[in-house]
């Protein structure tokens, strides 16, 4: 049996090889088959099915049997699904491979170290009782320490002087235990409730978002990171115990808000148009209907002006695609939002929606009363809607800003997952609305 460092090294080596093989094979499949090529084949097959249902004109041979065409089409659908799944798993596999490689390096050092320590150093046996045994950190401890330091560094960078919430709490602590006449004159801090509590929550939220931006992580993870920093004493050493407890409960609340099931989080379910049942097999089944108060907008009944509702052909002009981690418009040009500008805002940001099949549509053109999120899909339910900032095809940030759909946090996660599964990375996910 191998001793632990060697066993760990061997296990990591095996995993790295597995991941490398998977990545290589999937990349080859995507390059050979190509999702777009498969889609095209399916379209042709479906057209053939539609044609075969029509009677052949006199003098022409009958079309191919529909059943056979349907079997072929189903086979293509399965191939497409399998390829999409494999492609979706690629970013996670790459990330895991990077982590495994890091751990491999550390494990290699441990293996080397173990070999060295297995051979007694000259004179080691004579070291006597004065040579006290020293604790050697395990690989897990080393990695945990590294992670803690990295997180502490993000907290220090994002939250200058501890951040706005912590400054507020430190100020309260100073008033409770004044060390100067000026502090004494300000009196004891008032109870943290009502508007005071709401304002404090706003400060915590701003700090969490700053952390999310600096660490390039989702806000719920940032809330968890801030909580950990408070528990470990990186933050909040000087605050009052009850305020520290309050801060932890606010952070818990924020994490819960971000991770609760979508049904519970869709506080506006009752204000939407009736849900439309989706057929089985859609890639992103968490879809929301448009807000009911916007119904009839295409007739001028809402804004006075008529909101454009695109048909299937028109919406193709707005379809955007990810390729090698970059976003392209329908003409094959790198998508860019720098020129986006309207009377009512939207500077540097485009509006987007994603339908339940994962098709994305976007436009720099957002004219109130004329062209909205609902325009792309003619008011149909969407799997995601919001605004994003894209520079030369590189997605910089996404949000769920949409007055037409009021999307849930889970839907923004769907969009983020979709983008990441196609190679986009390092973009900010702004859950604020």
């Amino acid at each position: 049996m191998l001793p632990p460092p060697q066993a760990l090294h061997a296990r990591l080596q095996g995993r790295a090889e597995q991941l490398e093989a998977f990545i290589k094979a999937t990349q080859a499949r995507v390059a050979d088959d190509g999702i777009d090529a498969l889609r095209e084949k399916i379209n042709k097959k479906e057209q053939a099915i539609a044609t075969s249902l029509l009677p052949a004109p006199p003098g022409f041979p009958p079309g191919r049997p529909t059943a056979r065409l349907e079997t072929e089409s189903a086979q293509l659908h399965r191939e497409l699904h399998s390829l999409q799944q494999a492609e979706a798993e690629l970013p996670a596999a790459r990330q895991e491979l990077a982590q495994v490689r890091q751990r491999l390096q550390a494990a290699a050092l441990c293996v080397q170290d173990a070999k060295t320590s297995a051979v007694p150093a000259p004179g080691a046996q004579d070291a006597g009782p004065s040579a006290l045994p020293t604790h050697k950190p395990t690989l897990g401890e080393l990695l945990a320490q590294e992670s803690r330091e990295e997180q502490a560094q993000i907290v220090r960078t994002a939250l200058q002087d501890g951040g706005a919430a912590m400054r507020r709490l430190s100020d309260r602590a100073a008033r409770r235990h004044p060390r100067s006449i000026a502090e004494r004159l300000r009196g004891s801090p008032k109870p943290m409730d009502g508007q005071r509590l709401d304002a404090f929550k706003g400060l915590v939220r701003a700090d969490v978002l700053a952390l999310a931006k600096t660490g390039r992580i989702e806000p719920r993870l940032a809330a968890g990171m801030m909580r950990k920093a408070v528990e470990e004493g990186t933050l909040g050493k000087t605050v009052l115990p009850e305020d520290r407890q309050l801060l932890l409960s606010v952070l818990d609340q924020m994490q819960e808000e971000q991770t609760a099931p979508s049904v519970a989080r869709d506080a506006f379910a009752g204000e939407r148009l009736p849900p439309v049942p989706l057929p089985q097999g859609y890639r992103y089944p968490i879809a929301v209907s448009m807000m009911a108060h916007r119904a009839g907008e295409e007739t001028g009944a809402v804004f006075g002006t008529k909101v454009a509702y695109l048909d299937a052909q028109q919406r193709q002009q707005y379809q955007v695609h990810m390729h090698n981690g970059k976003l392209y418009d329908a003409q094959g040009e790198l998508f860019d939002t720098e020129a986006a500008k309207t009377v009512w805002g939207g500077d540097g940001k485009a509006i987007f929606v994603m339908d339940p099949a994962g098709n994305m549509y976007a436009s720099n053109h957002h004219v109130k009363g004329k062209f909205h999120h609902s325009s792309f899909v003619a008011g149909a339910p969407v799997a995601a809607a919001g605004e994003f900032e894209v520079h030369k095809g590189v997605v910089k940030s996404i949000s769920r800003e949409s007055g037409h759909y009021w999307p849930t946090a889970e839907q923004l996660d769907q969009m983020a997952h979709h983008l990441k599964s196609q190679g986009a990375a390092d973009f900010v996910i702004n859950q604020e609305v």
């Binding site: 009944a301 809402v302 002006t305 500008k341 009377v343 009512w344 805002g345 004219v367 109130k368 009363g369």
Partner: protein, 100 residues
């Protein structure tokens, strides 16, 4: 069609303004974009709806567009600023609006 529907167009704008209390009206650039994005007839509709808003501060503007996070009073002040920038703006933008 209810002529007041046009009011929802400027009403939608308030959520894009960082500080509605500090808003001083549409900039010349915004006025130019207004002409780019809306027909003269539509601009006339917006102006008429804004005129109604100016004259009826007690109207429930907040109810016209659910989700607005401002008081009715603040929304009214905002609409008055938009209306005055549309009417009082000298130059090409205003001429075009008058001619619309």
């Amino acid at each position: 069609m209810n002529a007041l529907n046009f009011l929802r167009i400027p009403l939608s704008m308030i959520e894009h303004i960082a500080d509605p209390a500090a808003f001083q009206g549409l900039s010349p650039q915004q006025l130019a974009l207004l002409q780019r994005d809306y027909t003269p007839e539509e601009i006339r509709g917006i102006r008429a709806a804004l005129q109604f808003a100016v004259e009826h501060p007690q109207h429930d503007f907040a109810a016209m567009l659910p989700g607005l996070s401002h008081s009715n009073e603040r929304i009214h002040r905002f609409l008055v600023k938009v209306a005055s920038s549309l009417q009082g703006q000298p130059g090409a933008a205003n001429k075009s609006l008058r001619g619309a």
